[in-house]
Amino acid sequence: MKTISKDILKKAASKLLFDMTEAQYALLEDEFGTLLSQMDLIGKIPDIDSVAPMTFPFDTGNAFMREDVPEAPALVSDILKNAGHVEDDQIKLPKVVG
């Protein structure tokens, strides 16, 4: 099993668009140690790879598809009222490049 370096953790956090304190990274390193050894338990299950991964708790039968009938949209004022920065009825962000 791979051992986790703080670097990897920092990279992961950065990709998730948040920062953590050094102390938290240290804590996380510990947690990962625990987690990875516990995940080893999964790896040790003899027939683990003999089955397909399961996403849904059970086969619920045929799922439904929505009829193509549009619903009345929200009022512009409502849909924007939770946004921090609004201009010209649009949500404003720092300039996006690329």
Partner: protein, 487 residues
């Protein structure tokens, strides 16, 4: 004694007999809410609740929830009412729509008197990690013991007698564990039985809407109101619902109950096991057929890593919409990424961030096969084992928790090596979507502990019937924590 201290069933009878009015109930509930010191509330909805109650003048005889005050965990979307998910990243967020279950309860004229505290974004089991701090267990006036989580505030509100029922959510045990610590009935129905539309997602393949009451019959009443198909939730079943207050009366004679040996033999307080065995005897006397079954130990020991991997992975993805741009406290930066980074760094607690990193790590291309996909495979193996048991048995019984509510200082949110099957088996109900109920089993040092009944998908009726049978034996119905004594 107040009518508010009764079960829903009893309050309804009093309302119909005009012994009490909705306004009176709501006023009292609001007073208790405001006086409560367990940190159960994100927000108390005084004006809204009184306004609604004032409109309810003619009791609806056939509508058991008419005029009944309740609370909802603050991860249910409520229109025009700030909803935070217990996280600073959603401070100030005011939804534009009601969760389907909120709408259903509105239609039944139940009255929402407040939104309750929770572990942040429902991702915890201690009631410590919400942005309002610890939620306490009303049974422990010294405030040393937790009520568990993540539906902490909802459990506290029902346990303290503020309301007779509360909405919660259960992804790994977040309704059924607090129920055990708080002497309540906590129900998690079958996956897809109740619409999740409007429930802030933690891990959709494991998430369930659940609720807390003080009697099995009350649970049937609430389930009746909520078990319906919903075109806004593609995972919500259209299997016809039944009248659970009817099926709750079915006899359990002849029903086959399985007890998983490895679970009951794992570390519990001896008193809990003793009480459990006593109940099992009484069920046998009722005519139930009880068998001890074996369950693969390697699978049981893998429960926790399977759960943490799948739930953190799904959670990381779900929380990617929380970026401060569309809602949440305003953010800015030199680039859009900075703006999002600033919001997420400030808005998420440290615990949540650590969970997200775990989840993200498990999904990385180089790790997915070995981490995420293997966890999903483990889930399948476990569910297949349970289905085998359900071929020959109707119900699975176990103590709900190894002991009474832990003290805050004894339980950390940090992942630790100490691993108890006894503490983690409730999530079996989430892996396979099986309906489960925790209800009171006994008390130890004045703190409650519970028993867990789990059935096949869509067999809530039988699960509730067994629960009621147990309730009849223990007599532990409608338990409210002793009130604060004013010195």
């Amino acid at each position: 004694m107040s009518y508010l201290d009764l079960t829903i069933k009893e309050i309804h009878e009093a309302l119909v007999a005009r012994l009490v009015t909705p306004i009176e109930l709501v006023k009292e509930a609001l007073e208790r809410a405001k006086a409560n010191t367990d940190n159960a509330f994100e927000i108390i909805l005084e004006q809204e609740a009184l306004a609604q109650a004032a409109m309810l003048l003619e009791p609806e005889v056939d509508n058991m929830l008419w005029g009944i005050p309740y609370v909802a965990k603050d991860n249910f979307s409520t229109k025009d009412i700030p909803t935070t998910g217990g996280s600073n990243i959603l401070t100030g967020y005011v939804p534009l729509f009601d969760a389907t279950v909120i709408t259903r309860l509105k239609e039944k004229h139940a009255i929402l008197i407040g939104k309750t505290t929770l572990d942040e974004l429902a991702m915890g089991g201690t009631g410590k990690s919400g942005h309002k701090g610890k939620t306490f267990n009303p049974y422990d006036k010294t405030k040393q013991r937790m009520i568990g989580g993540s539906s902490s505030g909802s459990a506290a509100a029902v346990c303290a007698g503020i309301v007779p029922f509360a909405l919660g959510s259960d992804t790994g045990d977040s309704v059924r564990k607090p129920a055990s610590y708080a002497g309540l009935v906590g129900m998690k129905p079958t996956w897809g039985r109740i619409s999740r539309y409007g429930l802030f997602p933690f891990a959709p393949s494991l998430d369930h809407v659940g609720f807390l009451t003080r009697s099995a019959y009350d649970a049937a009443l609430v389930l009746n109101a909520l078990a319906k198909s919903d075109k806004y939730d593609a995972t919500c079943s259209d299997t016809p619902a039944i009248d659970y207050t009817n099926s709750i009366n079915q006899p359990i004679a002849g029903k086959r109950i399985a007890i998983i040996e490895e679970i009951v033999k794992s570390k519990h307080r001896p008193e809990v096991i003793k009480a459990f065995e006593a109940i099992v005897e009484q069920l046998k006397n009722d005519g139930a057929i009880v068998t001890i079954v074996k369950f693969r130990r390697d699978l049981l020991e893998a429960i926790f890593p399977i759960y943490i991997t799948i739930s953190c992975a799904e959670a990381t993805s779900n929380a990617a919409n929380l970026d401060g741009i569309k809602f949440g406290p305003a953010t800015w930066g030199t680039t859009y990424e900075d703006a999002m980074r600033n919001a997420r760094t400030a808005g998420f607690s440290e615990l949540i961030k650590r969970r997200f990193v775990i989840g993200s790590y498990a999904l990385l291309r180089e790790n997915q096969e070995v981490l995420f996909l293997r966890a999903q495979k483990g889930r399948r193996l476990i569910v297949e084992e349970l289905n085998k048991i359900y071929q020959d048995h109707d119900l699975i019984l176990a103590p709900a928790a190894p002991s009474i509510a832990p003290k805050f200082e004894d339980k950390t949110d940090q992942l630790s090596d100490e691993y108890l099957i006894a503490d983690n088996h409730l999530v079996l109900g989430n892996f396979g979507g099986f309906p489960g109920v925790t209800l009171p089993l006994g008390k130890l040092n004045d703190m409650p502990f519970g028993i867990h009944v789990m059935g096949r998908p869509f067999e809530e009726g039988l699960v509730l019937a067994a629960s009621q049978a147990i309730e009849n034996h223990t007599g532990l119905r409608n338990m409210i924590a002793p009130k604060e004594v004013n010195l």
